[in-house]
């Protein structure tokens, strides 16, 4: 569906592609979430992130979220792009861009998308420290 653009990519991603996909003349508001690799997590210094995905299902689940966005909200277009592999500090891990005729719905829809992605999409994040590594969220 051309209103939905899902990408899972080992190559670096930018927000430009996602925003370009969702821009359209019926929409006055575009909200974009960019998730980047952050240096500190619970006080420990992160060296890099590594993402692993169960790719066919991850794409399927990202598509489900995109369809929900178009059904639950007055959204016209949505793009969800996610990295796999090594993501260095400040580099982008995920971009979600949603366009709506009005802005309030665009904020709500974009936040719903990233919140849902973190709950349902089979992608795993490993934080690499100087002295070890940890699978994020694995343990309670």
């Amino acid at each position: 569906m051309q209103n939905i653009d899902i990408q899972l990519s080992e190559a670096p991603i930018t927000s430009i592609a996602a925003e370009a996909h969702v821009t359209n003349e019926e929409c006055g508001g575009i909200v974009t979430f960019v998730g980047t690799a952050r240096k500190f997590t619970k006080g420990k210094e992160v060296v890099r992130l590594e993402f692993e995905a169960y790719e066919p299902m991850a794409i399927k689940e990202m598509n489900k979220i995109a369809h929900q966005i178009l059904e639950k909200f007055p959204a016209k277009k949505v793009a969800i792009h996610h990295r796999t592999g090594v993501v260095n500090l400040k580099d982008i891990a995920v971009v979600i861009s949603v366009s709506c005729p009005h802005r309030a719905a665009a904020f709500e829809a974009c936040q719903y998308a990233i919140d849902t992605l973190k709950q349902t999409v089979p992608i795993w994040k490993k934080e690499i420290f100087e002295d070890g590594e940890i699978w994020v969220a694995a343990h309670p």
Partner: protein, 80 residues
């Protein structure tokens, strides 16, 4: 019956393999597989959650497995 397990994230570290062929009693459900996995690899009991997918869809505990199913072990996800 034979199943093929696929393991991602910490599940791969726990099992030590990306893929594993196993045999379970005919008629086993996801819940039975889960119990037997925790018996064999107690580290699974410590995870915040443990889900399973067959044919690229999450499946509930009462899902009946069939011969040659590819079952993907899904530890807590953390995209984004």
């Amino acid at each position: 019956m034979k199943l093929k397990l696929k393991a991602f994230g910490i599940a791969k570290d726990i099992i030590g393999h990306r893929e594993l062929n196993i045999v379970v009693p005919t008629g086993s459900k996801i819940s039975d597989l889960k119990k037997s996995l925790i018996d064999s690899y107690p580290a699974f009991a410590d995870l915040a959650s443990l889900s399973f997918a067959v044919e690229e869809e999450y499946q509930e505990d009462d899902f009946s497995l069939t011969e040659n199913n590819e079952v993907v072990i899904i530890p807590p996800v953390a995209g984004g």
